[in-house]
Amino acid sequence: MSRILVAMSGGVDSSVAAALLKDEGHEVVGVWMRLHDVADSISEFKKSCCSLDAAEDARRVAGQLDIPFYVLNLEREFDEGVLAPFLGAYLDGTTPSPCVDCNTTVKFGALLGQARHLYDCDAVATGHYARRVVGEDGQVRMLRARDGDKDQTYFLYGLRQDQLHDARFPLGELTKPEVRAVARRLGLATADKPESQGICFIPDGDVRGALKSRAGWEPETGPVLDANGTRVGEHAGAAGYTPGQRQGLGISLGSPRYVSRVDPVTNTITLGRREDLETTAFEIEDVRFVAEHGHDRSFRAGVRIRHRAEPIPAWVEPVDATEPERVGRWTVRTDTPVWAIAPRQAAVLYDGDVCLGGGRIARPATGTSQSMAASAPGLVTTVAS
């Protein structure tokens, strides 16, 4: 029995997470994090008390479970750790992974810090679908969830050992239908609530609108180029586009074209045919490994470049660190092509079910095609254990 803080979003997953921990006999404390002002701005009465539907759902479930429940204000921490990097990434022509940042800096960052130091809690639990295993060596490892379709380790790879040590994922061994069944059996208010979609702080999905209103972005028109460099149109501001995107440019060139590259310096968007966006080699930076693996040489891993994508077998090898800015970078060479990699998005590495860690996709060197020559790795001696 320990005191566990559960981050309750008002959805069915975190509701059931709280219920399961309570059932195990833990002292469960429910919190709903107020992270941004969106709930206010879409409310009829700005800043009105208790207009927050999600918080009310979480509170209702906490009431049903008879656990203490609080609203914690983490707006400042969310702004620094998630929102500012999100806006910065798009303005820089890259594609952010806000959920990764939220897990590392807010849920298992600021919230975990408060849970430990202010509220004497032993752990923070969430409704994430992931499994954690504490090895005999004391290292915590993270495994893909039993429900492969719901697995959320892609968003959790960035957690350090001390964060993982105090993290709890009660849903890791359950499938989504099983979670719903638990919620229904307990009569939880959120049992049949639909999945949340999209980015929580941009409920209307208008990223470009958010860049204007929250980051003061003043878009300037610029050229849209085809893969061969021919100017084929004009865009109304390059930020907010992401590789693989088809819609929104209003350009028709016979065969389908996709955004292949966004360059904020020249304010240029480059298009490509589907095959132009295929890649078998790219670099990742800000790499973190979940546990100590002794990886200083090449190893085999499955790589996921977006949530829920099937991991693609690949070689992962350290980049020669003779150039200072490339220290800590690794090269990923996939056995089969991956499509539409987006710089700054997370690339996460797996050994079977084990999540090894990951990094952010680095922007390819300027002026070269995104596709690098696929070559077999050279001196390969180690394989991921």
Partner: protein, 398 residues
């Protein structure tokens, strides 16, 4: 053993009130407007409650309008007076430290052509009568002032303020008093105060929730805010909540009887708590040191998030508050502390303990042990959270 120290939010229903209410939740279900025995019994109980409430504040029974609570009484008083006085002027004066049940209705009136002025207050939350005097104009139709502040407990120099309105204000200018926070603990005499309107709420003096009353001086015209039947002499249409009104009447009568004893006892306990808390480094009393509600302890603690102290205390079974009862987690600091000149960073460290009639000596002894410890632990925790944040946020490869 849980300890309830949030009587400024609400109080437990006292058994005598509950007992008086029960028949009207059971077999005495009649509508007071009905012309038969059931109706007459309900009417008699309602009349008795009006008389009790009137007697408690020095009013006549026909000067009492029963409402659903303090908020409704204030809305009726302020909007009713504003619209009724519109022919004479459009200026409304209030103070920057009023409860939202005063400020928000007035802000709404501000959207309909009324000019609302929120008077500044001093470090303790008091309005200087000279400030009020200077703001009065021949267009002033209403002055709305809280008798005592619900967040910091400061008692306004109400007699002086109202005297100034009478001396310097235009004829027909109405004075509305929010006595919701003060009614349980301070003597209230509407004749001595010379106010035109005064609002109270039953659940602050051990009565039921959902009941309040507005004193409306005989001959004073306000525009009713809900129309329908002839209830409350057309001032407030709608079938009365007889049980709640009866409970309010009993609770207020008893509160007046016991007032001196309770206020004396709570004042002593309050001062013990204030002494213990302000002996902590970086803890300051908010509100006036002596002119304050007897049961109200309010502080700001440097380097502390008041919300985290409230949370910690709750986990230990102690009910406290940051000053108001809002639960949306808004980071907006208290408008009261802001008006009193506290910077937002200091206002974040606010904590309120409010004692009540049922607070025991043992409760206070336990609080003297638990609360200062929680404040210190919250400060130490905040320091460690801040120290631990840096590496978490740099995103350094692990």
């Amino acid at each position: 053993m849980p300890i309830y120290l949030d009587h400024a939010a609400t109080t437990p229903l006292r058994p005598e009130a509950l007992e008086a209410m029960l028949p009207f939740l059971g077999e005495q279900f009649g509508n007071p407007s009905s012309p038969h025995a059931w109706g007459r019994r309900a009417r008699a109980a309602l009349d008795d409650a009006h008389e009790r409430i009137a007697a408690a504040i020095g009013a006549g029974p026909r000067e009492i309008v029963i409402t659903s609570g303090g908020t409704e009484a204030l809305n009726l008083a302020l909007k009713g007076a504003a619209w009724a006085g519109k022919a004479r002027g459009n200026q409304i004066l209030t103070t920057a430290v009023e409860h939202h049940a005063v400020l928000h209705p007035l802000q709404q009136l501000g959207k309909f052509g009324f000019e609302v002025l929120e008077l500044p207050v001093d470090r303790y939350g008091r309005v200087d009568p000279d400030t009020l005097g200077a703001a009065l104009s021949d267009r002033t139709i209403l002055v709305a002032i809280g008798h005592a502040n619900n967040e910091v407990g400061t008692i306004q120099p109400l007699v002086d303020l109202i005297a100034r309105v009478r001396a310097d204000g235009p004829r027909g200018c109405l004075v509305a008093v929010d006595a919701v926070a003060s009614a349980p603990y301070l003597p209230i005499d509407v004749a001595a105060l010379d106010c035109d309107l005064l609002a109270i709420a039953a659940h602050k003096f051990d009565g039921p929730k959902g009941a309040g009353a507005l004193f409306l001086r005989a001959g004073t015209h306000i525009l009713s805010q809900q129309q329908g039947g002839s209830q409350e002499r057309f001032r407030r249409a709608g079938t009365e909540d007889v049980a709640a009104t009866v409970g309010m009447g009993v609770a207020l009568s008893l509160a007046v009887e016991e007032r001196d004893e309770v206020a004396g006892r709570l004042g002593t306990a309050r001062d013990r708590l204030i002494g213990a808390l302000t002996s902590i480094d970086g803890v300051e009393l908010t509100g006036h040191p002596t002119d304050r509600l007897p049961g109200l302890v309010s502080i700001v603690a440097r380097g502390v998030d008041g919300a985290s102290v409230v949370l910690k205390l709750d986990l230990e079974g102690v009910a406290a508050s940051v000053g108001s009862a809002c639960t949306t987690g808004s980071a907006e600091p208290s408008h009261v502390l802001r008006a009193m000149g506290y910077p937002d960073e200091e206002a974040r460290g606010s904590l309120r303990l409010s004692l009540g009639r049922t607070t025991s000596e043992a409760d206070v002894d336990a609080a003297l042990d638990i609360v200062p410890r929680a404040v210190l632990a919250a400060r130490e925790g905040a320091r460690r959270v801040a120290a631990g944040r840096a590496p978490v946020e740099t995103g350094a490869p692990g």
